[in-house]
């Protein structure tokens, strides 16, 4: 049989490529607005002139905003980490094994996505109050872990569905212990799923407002809470500046750390 000549991989993907470009434009268009208006002289949505006024305000006059931002970052990282661990292990258990309570777990683990946020917020607050758990960063982190878990679960399980189980069987046949199989076979092969789950968890946590509003304690403000409270009163151009810094920082990180990813993933 004649071998087909090698095709430039990107040629094959003209259709999907154009969908990708469309998505990128869709995602980044509002960001362009943000960036432009962060340099706006005035407060309103008409561009009156170029100015670094809001950046100055951001760096010299926004202690509370940075405090909220710091809280948000801590909460996001911790809750994403813990929920990824719990979710990944849970996905492995649920996908390959049958055991008592499996049906209960399957239904119950997905409920946090289904239940409306305000109900989750109020009920968790009532629960925390009934056990006298002081409200604050800890309760926010607990709540965030809880609603992140189903997302990680689903993503990792979808990934596991393509696993060639014979590799794992082979590992056992060769005498490997479970912990080694886990660390050296299962997890490495699931990394894109685990990373996707982790990223989803961070994204959800950074943006959560309703649940956080109810379970937060005095003094523990997060970025969404802060922004929401400013909604009625404006001064939002400072937020634009913060968003721009955040985006630019993350983009720089993403684009320059390709080597780091390769190292992490391989």
């Amino acid at each position: 049989m004649k071998k087909k000549p090698p095709v430039n991989p990107m040629d094959r993907h003209r259709i999907s490529g154009s969908f990708f470009v469309f998505s990128m434009i869709f995602f980044y268009a509002p960001l362009l607005i943000l960036i432009i208006f962060s340099f706006n002289e005035g407060k309103s949505m008409t561009f009156t002139g170029f100015s670094l006024r809001w950046y100055k305000e951001l760096f010299f006059n926004s202690a509370k905003l940075w405090g909220s931002f710091g809280n948000t970052v801590i909460i996001a990282l911790v809750s994403a980490l813990v929920s990824t661990i719990i979710g990944t292990l849970g996905a492995i258990g649920l996908y390959w094994y049958n055991f008592k309570l499996k049906k209960y777990l399957q239904v119950v683990s997905y409920l946090p996505i289904i239940l409306p946020e305000i109900i989750i917020g109020v009920s968790m607050l009532m629960f925390f109050a009934s056990i006298n758990l002081p409200l604050g960063l800890a309760t926010i982190i607990i709540a965030h872990i809880t609603f992140n878990i189903p997302y990680v679960l689903l993503i990792v399980m979808a990934r596991l569905s393509e696993f060639d189980y014979s590799i794992i069987e082979a590992a056992y046949d060769l005498g490997a212990k479970e912990i080694d199989t886990l660390l050296k076979v299962i997890i490495p092969m699931s990394i894109p799923g685990i990373i996707s789950g982790f990223l989803v968890a961070i994204t959800l946590s950074i943006d959560d407002f309703v649940i956080t509003f109810f379970v937060t304690g005095p003094g523990a403000s997060t970025l969404p809470l802060h922004i929401y409270s400013m909604l009625r009163f404006g001064l939002s151009p400072v937020i634009n500046s913060l968003s721009v810094i955040l985006i630019v920082g993350s983009l720089v990180f993403a684009l320059t750390s390709k080597r780091m990813f390769r190292h992490m993933f391989n």
Binding site: F20, I33, L105, P112, F127, E162, D207, R262
Partner: protein
């Protein structure tokens, strides 16, 4: 010999969800059968008021609205997400693209919506551009209707549909597609009959991640929905805060949960019979 580690793997999950979710949810479930406190909260008295009040015109109208918006959003989002995730999974720069897709969503949700209002609003960029170019005399109201809600929902759900699809497609062995081509299949046929069935779990996940948040959403209809578009999430909010009727907010949530869970179980069963066969054979 496969030892049953199932319980060990799922122990943290079991403990966490039971303590921090099932217990709070039980409070809501029980609360839905209680009487409304005068100023909110629950009165310890049995009452089915919260459930009988579900059969009203308002609830019917809002439920239908919610279902329609959620279904349209889900279909369009997943259709957009599939080719996008496919392209990402096959690219040399896949990890970078993954980050590029997610980073816009690390800016705050409210800020992004207001940026869309700045673009699509009556006094926004699109309208002003068209008026200045002489194509319009007066602004066209693009927002504050059902389509604005759907558009913004697609916008906010798309990354959550792309990520699970990416994760599943990335693992796919693409030489299978080439093999299908060699055996005479056309490109669409090979995609439809080889790729799609294997990434069904990713598609299911993308559908769930889009449909469920859309179904319970309140913020987006609130901000860009205008006067006519109200969804179940708005009703629940109002019951809880304005009307201070906690049992009613609870009963709507309970019914919403049961219906959504039922739909999820149904959908998962319909799309994954093949997987069950695979696992049985292997064990």
């Amino acid at each position: 010999m496969m030892k049953n580690y199932g319980q060990r793997y799922t122990l943290p999950l079991l403990l966490w969800i039971t303590v921090f979710f099932v217990i709070p949810f039980s409070i809501i479930f029980v609360g839905s059968f209680l009487k409304k406190g005068l100023y909110g909260g629950f009165e310890l008295q049995f009452s089915l008021d919260a459930y009988t009040s579900l059969f009203s015109n308002t609830m019917r109208k809002v439920s239908i609205n919610t279902i329609i918006i959620s279904v349209i959003t889900t279909i369009v989002t997943v259709l957009l997400a599939l080719p996008t995730a496919y392209y990402m999974a096959r690219s040399r720069y896949k990890e970078t693209l993954l980050f590029l897709v997610i980073i816009p969503f690390w800016t705050n949700f409210l800020i992004r919506i207001f940026a869309w209002i700045a673009i699509l609003g009556n006094n926004g960029l699109v309208n002003n551009f068209l008026i200045n170019a002489g194509l319009l005399n007066a602004p066209v109201q693009l927002l504050y209707n059902r389509w604005a809600v759907i558009l913004i929902m697609i916008y906010t759900s798309l990354p959550f549909a792309i990520l699970p699809l990416y994760s599943t497609i990335e693992k796919f062995d693409f030489s299978l597609l080439e093999a299908a081509r060699d055996l005479g299949a056309t490109k669409p046929q090979s995609v439809y009959k080889v790729l799609i069935p294997i990434i069904i779990p990713g598609i299911t996940t993308a559908v769930l991640f889009t449909f469920i948040p859309a179904f319970g959403n309140f913020a987006i209809p609130d901000i860009v929905g205008g006067t006519d578009i109200r969804m179940l999430g708005n009703i629940i909010n109002e019951k809880l805060k304005t009307a201070r009727n906690w049992p009613s907010a609870s009963s709507i949530s309970v019914v919403l949960t049961i219906m959504t869970t039922g739909a999820v179980i149904l959908f998962t069963r319909l799309t994954a019979p093949k997987r069950a066969a695979q696992v049985k054979e292997e064990s």
